[in-house]
């Protein structure tokens, strides 16, 4: 069960207080009336399913009722950051790749980095079972 830092309440709360609402940063086409069927279909039905860094929309449903974003590692379940609506993630798949290539260590983020380390061997192996 996740331990999630609500960026509005500024507190760690148990996952039971939250609802996941799928992929974050979904862009509704600005002019739906003139969007092609394909554009509209992409928006409605197609979602990323990355192995690794993923940005998700969550809501503190039985707390402050605010929606916010979570950057989460889908392999280790590590939550790397949470941030309010309207903000962009500071950790992305690209930034993590760069960090690994350059061997840069990021600071221990306390609770948000609980979970298996992204560098651990398990991450680089195929998950069977």
């Amino acid at each position: 069960m996740f331990y999630i830092h609500c960026p509005y309440c500024q507190e760690y709360r148990e996952e039971e207080e939250f609802h996941p609402r799928g992929q974050g940063h979904l862009m509704r086409p600005a002019d739906p009336d003139n969007a092609t069927d394909e554009e509209w279909g992409d928006y409605l039905f197609f979602r990323d399913n990355p192995r690794g860094i993923h940005h998700e929309l969550w809501v503190h449903s039985v707390g402050c009722r605010k929606f916010f974003n979570i950057t989460r590692n889908t392999v280790t379940y590590e939550i790397l950051e949470t941030y309010p609506m309207g903000e962009q993630p500071t950790i992305t798949a690209e930034s993590e790749k760069l960090r690994k290539e350059q061997g840069v260590q990021t600071a221990d983020g306390g609770w948000q980095t609980i979970g298996a380390q992204p560098d651990s061997r398990a991450l680089n192996e195929e998950i069977s079972s």
């Binding site: 002019d31 969007a35 928006y43 409605l44 009722r65 929606f67 609980i114 380390q117 069977s128 079972s129």
Partner: protein
């Protein structure tokens, strides 16, 4: 029976306290301090179970959680039955009653042994399914007996008299395991000031220190344990949890602990003298740092007939002798690959029993313990191993051969040794289970010949589980772990002095898992790898030959490491065998993942107090008590308890639902009825942009809705599918009251917030749930106006208070809002009052209503009345694949609204405009007595061969007392173009119903009745 195997001195049992207990119907005596297993061994009970597949006699193998065989059904009475209890983990108490879970009708003579013989000498993996599946019709019969014979324990048939509870914790440091490493870790973290929880699954804390031969500070190690536990228990920042198993290690350092609070004392908590207290407790711990100090499990060697009672782990032999003062046999042969196991032989000899020989697979063992054994005159046979156990119901001998480890063959001559016990040790496996729960894979350590925990953020593994063997190293590593954990939690270092150990030199161990035999694994007597699941070396070899190369597949094919055992003894041996067969190394074959729970947890502990009345919250309307007093039958709608119907007693006979609903329906159509509609979701919407927002989330128009007016709205998702509906009233220019379906209230509120917060944050609009604040009473029927006018001064005239108007009013001297909306098709007034006034108003309505025959009705009548009018219920007549156009509700779609409202664009998607979509229609069965089944499939051609083309299905179906026949609502392909056509509904029993497609509006198609 006497305790023939009990020795006179030593052990941690209380010889002054004899405890009677019953096992498989036989009465025995044990001592306070015994486990059920040690008491059975003390009494010379060899067979404790029958094996799962082959039904072979099985005895106790281990002394702890890793025990695969002695799994018993506990409980003196039906209501106290607990399955899946390990006898090695169950403290003995007076009057304990236990049975073998396997073995029917009894473990001594087992009817299932014919099944074992039926498959010949070897039952391949998948045997049961391959053999008994044909003919398929017989499987059910076979299965019943096989399952009974396999006896995986059973749930009680009576309710549990005990209570269970949950406790939630936050701590800095969670230490799992109170052996040398765990105690040292807890002590150093606690002295530093960290909030520490220390749990241990055993009756007493101390782990291996309770039965070790080694000393600490020159005295028995148990003395240091005592002093340490005493200090810890005196610290305010420490919580000690003995008899508590860490069963699950979940994301973000969330650990679940299963504490057995009275199970070591008696059958129930009250019998244990703890009436009103919980029998077991589940602790849910969110820890800053987790110190995993779960130690190691000894690995048995895999040799022929290694499952005969009398085959045991070497370490377990030591534990039984030193901790429980029980020697589990008379003549011992020890087969080992390492020095540490030698202590079993030394302990055995000191207990005064005969040690026949130590058989060591290494050519030149020379550690301190080896020398000690030789010096005490014990025969040590080197370069050899026990290759086969002899015996029928118990070991009677051991066949010893020289073996070549490299070539995996038997080399020298055979020697038969007479004995009744074979202890074996193939080394030690760190107990990595908990670390694996988090998803990380254990890492192979070639030096240890074992897997150690993979990295888990927030976890420090310490002592044996981390691969630090030897008491001095274990203690030091524990201290380090405690210190690090405290530092990470923001505490400074504490001073702790570790007790002095006496240095001991251990020689290197050799890698031995399966022992070679003269015959191949398939031809040799069975060599068991996983005793609980009856997985043999031959089974694994066969699996690899059949092409299962991944250990995960081997596991699934053979059942290795399945079930409540979770591969505690067998996994590494199984992987080693697979690796040998595939000619790979163990890490190349990989390891499987261990899953929660580490050992079985009772449902009681999982459920805690969330049972009975507290299983699920119930929501009651303000009028609930009146409904109860007036004989309502209730229906669950979400968490709400809604009156379903109000049966009356006529001539001493209570009405059936059908009779009550028919009466209630006619009362509304002919006179006046009343419904408690308080459960409808109500959302108060305010703000300068409220109207704009309404226009974006509803499909229809809201720009012109004036204060005092009400409109029905459809809410779609952006894929164009209907998700909710309801009426919304304009209270003021920037203030609306939205109603939702009862079940959809919370979801709709979240939906509105979602769109506001993520898509249109620039709109100034605010939402709040007011569902519970208002009670809603629907007064409906031709006499509704007459009745209501007696209780309010409001002008109810049809011209001044029109259909779809709402008004502030005073009803029965109480401020109210009255809405002229109708879900029945009749003249209707929905009266909203503050919830705490509801009962008063309701009663006033009945006072005045008596002369009008005011009839209370429930949800069933509401459903019939609305269906007669073709009014949908979202979630019943729709299922997330239905658009407003499919429903024929084009009138509620604002095609020309300027803003691209939610769902609009999707209405022109190719899929939503295709011609053959299912459309909402009515169905009139040809036989007026038929009430079609909801969900029944509709076909156009009843002669068509199966599979028939399904063209729709029934969504709602009732008997209409007003119409005098059954009727239904349905979705049918191109239904609106098929008015008057006949469709067919084939039923499972072979009958085929015929029905005519009609308009979904069966009563008053012009809507005149609600407009009077």
């Amino acid at each position: 029976m006497t305790q023939t195997n009990r020795i006179d001195a030593g052990g941690r049992v209380d010889r002054a306290q004899t405890l009677e207990f019953t096992f498989n119907g036989q009465r025995y005596q044990g001592l306070k301090g015994d486990t059920l297993a040690s008491a059975l061994l003390a009494n010379g009970v060899d067979i404790v179970n029958r094996s799962f597949k082959y039904s072979r006699a099985r005895g106790i193998v281990a002394a702890g959680a890793e025990e695969p065989n002695a799994v018993v059904q506990l409980g003196a009475r039906e209501e106290t039955q607990v399955p899946n209890v390990r006898a090695t983990q169950q403290a003995l108490y007076k009057g304990l009653v236990a049975r073998s879970t396997n073995g029917w009708p009894n473990v001594q003579r087992d009817v299932m042994s014919w099944v074992g013989k039926l498959g010949g000498g070897f039952m391949p993996p998948g045997f049961y399914y391959k053999t008994f599946m044909a003919p398929a019709s017989m499987w059910m019969t076979y299965e019943k007996y096989i399952r009974k014979g396999a006896g995986l324990g059973r749930a009680p048939h009576e309710s549990d008299p005990d209570i269970y509870d949950h406790m939630h914790h936050h701590c800095d440091v969670m230490v799992i395991g109170a052996g040398p490493a765990g105690l040292a870790a807890a002590l150093s973290a606690a002295r530093a000031g960290a909030r520490v929880i220390l749990c241990d699954e055993q009756e007493e804390m101390g782990g291996s220190l309770l039965d070790t031969r080694e000393t600490l500070d020159g005295v028995a190690a148990a003395r240091w344990v005592e002093a340490t536990v005493k200090e810890l228990s005196g610290l305010e920042n420490v919580t000690l949890l003995p008899r508590t198993t860490a069963n699950g290690y979940h994301d973000h350092n969330f650990v679940t602990l299963h504490e057995r609070r009275t199970e070591h004392l008696a059958d129930t908590a009250s019998e244990a003298g703890f009436a009103g207290e919980s029998r077991a407790r589940l602790h849910r711990v969110r820890a800053g740092q987790v110190i995993l100090a779960s130690g190691t499990h000894e690995r048995p060697l895999v040799y022929a007939n290694n499952d005969l009672p009398g085959n045991m782990l070497a370490g377990a032999v030591s534990t039984y002798i030193r901790r429980y003062a029980v020697v589990p046999g008379k003549k011992l042969v020890l087969s080992t690959s390492n020095d540490h196991a030698y202590r079993a032989a030394l302990d055995w000899k000191e207990a005064g029993r005969e040690i026949v020989a130590i058989v060591d697979a290494r050519a030149n063992p020379d550690g301190d313990l080896v020398r000690q054994a030789r010096d005490s005159g014990i025969r040590v046979i080197t370069g050899s191993s026990v290759v086969e156990a002899r015996g029928g119901q118990r070991v009677t001998g051991a066949r010893v051969c020289a073996i070549d480890l490299e070539r995996f063959v038997v080399t020298g001559k055979t020697e038969e040794l007479e004995c009744d016990t074979i202890a074996s040790s193939g080394g030690y496996s760190p107990v990595v289970h908990l670390s694996s729960h988090t998803g990380t894979r254990p890492q192979w350590n070639e030096e240890l010949l074992g897997f150690v925990p993979g990295e888990v953020k927030g976890m420090i593994s310490a002592g044996g589980v981390a691969g630090h063997y030897g008491l001095d190293k274990t203690l030091a590593d524990g201290e380090r772990a405690g210190r690090e954990a405290a530092q990470k939690s923001g505490f400074s270092e504490a001073q702790i002095t570790l007790p002095a150990t006496r240095a001991r030199r251990d020689g290197p161990a050799c890698a031995l898992y399966q022992v070679p035999h003269e015959k191949t694994a398939l031809r040799a007597p069975k060599q068991f790898v996983d005793l609980q699941n009856d997985v043999t070396a031959a089974g694994i070899e066969l699996a690899t030959r059949e092409g299962f190369e991944s250990i995960e597949h081997v596991k699934r094919y053979t059942a290795l490491g399945f079930g409540t055992d979770q591969g505690k003894l067998g996994n590494i041996n199984g992987m080693a065998i697979a690796a040998r067969c595939l000619d790979r190394s163990i890490p190349e074959v990989g390891t499987t993942v261990f899953r929660p729970n580490y050992t079985p947890v009772t449902f009681g502990a999982i459920v805690g107090r969330h049972c009975g009345e507290l299983f699920d919250p119930k929501r009651y309307t303000a009028l609930h008590q009146w409904h109860v007093e007036n004989g309502a039958e209730f229906e669950d709608v979400g968490q709400w308890k809604r009156p379903w119907y109000f049966p009356r007693t006529v001539n001493g006979k209570k009405e059936t639902m059908h009779e009550a609903v028919a009466r209630e329906c006619l009362a509304v159509r002919e006179k006046v009825g009343i419904l408690d509609a308080s459960t409808l979701g109500k959302i108060d919407i305010q703000g300068p942009d409220a109207r704009e927002f309404m226009g974006r989330v509803y499909t229809n128009k809201w720009a012109q809705l004036a204060p005092g007016r009400v409109r029905y709205g459809l809410m779609c998702k952006d894929d164009g599918m209907l998700m909710d509906d309801g009426t919304t009233s304009c209270l003021a220019d920037n203030h609306f009251l939205m109603t939702t379906t009862t079940g959809g209230a919370a979801g709709v509120l979240e939906w509105l917030e979602l769109w506001h917060q993520t898509e249109w944050p620039e709109l100034q609009v605010y939402f709040n749930s007011v569902t519970d604040h208002w009670a809603t009473m629907t007064v409906t029927g031709p006499d509704a106006r007459k009745l209501l006018s007696e209780l309010t001064d409001l002008d109810l005239d049809k011209e001044s208070f029109k259909f779809m108007d709402w008004r502030d009013a005073v009803v029965a001297d109480v401020p109210a809002r009255i809405f002229r909306i109708s879900f029945t098709g009749e003249l209707a007034f929905e009266i909203n009052v503050q919830a705490n006034y509801a009962l008063h108003v309701w009663k006033k309505l009945f006072e005045h209503g008596e002369k009008h025959d005011l009839t209370p009705y429930g949800t069933e009548t509401m459903h019939v009345l609305r269906a007669e009018k073709g009014l949908i219920i979202v979630g019943q007549d729709t299922d997330g694949s239905v658009t407003p156009e499919d429903l024929g509700m084009q009138w509620a779609i604002g095609y020309d609204k300027p803003f691209p409202w939610i769902g609009k664009r999707a209405l022109s998607r190719p899929d939503t405009v295709r011609g053959d979509r299912k459309q909402f229609v009515g169905l009139k069965p040809k036989d007026p007595s038929v009430v079609l089944e909801e969900g029944a499939q509709i076909v156009f051609d009843k002669e068509q061969a199966i599979p028939m083309a399904m063209k729709g299905h029934v969504t709602s179906s009732y008997y209409s007392p007003s119409l005098g026949h059954g009727f239904a609502l349905a979705v049918v392909v191109e239904g609106r173009d098929r008015m008057g056509q006949t469709v067919y509904l084939p039923m499972p029993d072979g009958t085929v119903h015929e029905a005519e497609i009609t308009s979904p509006v069966f009563i008053d198609p012009k809507g005149e009745r609600q407009n009077v």
